[in-house]
Subunit: 185 residues, 2 copies
């Protein structure tokens, strides 16, 4: 296969990176149905047809955006199954500063009710985390009171619980860590 000139490849990679950033903002704010491809194109200075050439359709673009954020989250907040309270604290801190991954995952859950499978990166991330928890349970580092599936679901649920009073974040964070400690102790 003939290689494209380096300059052109670089430009196209840069355009794709711009697009992904703009798409992340747009999908996080408005969801899948609410996102507008024209707005993403305008924000990234790329025309609409080019977006479809790069990323296929809107659903495909959403999957790529969500999986990119999931990968970033796995990388920046690695699961520490032997210390789930500490993981909860770090996940809380990360999501307070970066709400986009959670918003994207919420839209995915709310809007894809027709049995469409989760994007591959998200599904793999959940499997990987469950497996790590199950292994820590097998090796005796973690209580087996709850299944790995429930423990992961509960930890995530506590970290992302609603109605956080913004004046009360420090106390709320301590309460989450304490709650996860109770579930894992």
């Amino acid at each position: 296969m003939k290689k494209k000139p380096a300059r052109r490849t670089r430009d196209s990679e840069s355009a794709k990176a711009h697009l992904l950033r703009a798409a992340t903002e747009e999908f996080a704010a408005f969801g899948i149905a609410g996102a507008r491809i024209d707005r993403i194109g305008a924000a990234a200075n790329v025309n609409k047809a080019q977006i479809y050439t790069y990323f296929g359709n809107k659903d495909r673009l959403f999957d790529i955006v969500l999986d990119t954020q999931v990968a970033r989250l796995l990388d920046e907040v690695p699961l520490t199954p032997e210390d789930l309270p500490g993981y909860a604290a770090r996940l809380f801190d990360f999501l307070m500063k970066n709400p986009q991954p959670l918003r994207l995952a919420n839209w995915n859950r709310m809007e894809r009710t027709g049995g469409r499978a989760d994007p591959p990166g998200l599904a793999a991330s959940v499997r990987k985390k469950r497996k790590a928890i199950a292994q820590a349970q097998t090796s005796g580092q973690l209580s087996t009171r709850f299944t790995a599936e429930d423990l992961l679901a509960f930890t995530t649920a506590l970290v992302t619980s609603w109605d956080v009073n913004p004046n009360n974040l420090r106390q709320h964070r301590e309460a989450i860590v304490d709650a996860v400690r109770l579930l894992t102790g």
Copy 2:
């Protein structure tokens, strides 16, 4: 003031009830931005202009729909602060059969990020529940390890935690009850 003929009032009440049912379906499925007033009208056999006359705008209609479901939930699954694990079990059972209140509350949280206040019924329901939990704590029926605010948020979060395996509901329900027991014990 002159009273309307009884027949006409009855018809209008019936049309409103039809509309509310159709609007509940539509908002639960598609959210606030995604809901279409024409579809609601078509489903309820009422014209669009009449909907605006009855309920004002789309946001007002959503508030009424959500608050109606919140009232129903308060009525059918009363909070029992002295028995939060039992409350969690009943709330889980109700939401498994009736996912609409949770979906509506989720849309409200996801789509109203501009600081718009929660609909009055939802806000009052949260206040009422927090107060009941705080009172149970004051009277010694409930541990004070967590604040009333956190305890309510955590209980709701555990009940509505993600990724429920539909083949595993009975076990998952027991795990929720057990988790809430740990937090309240």
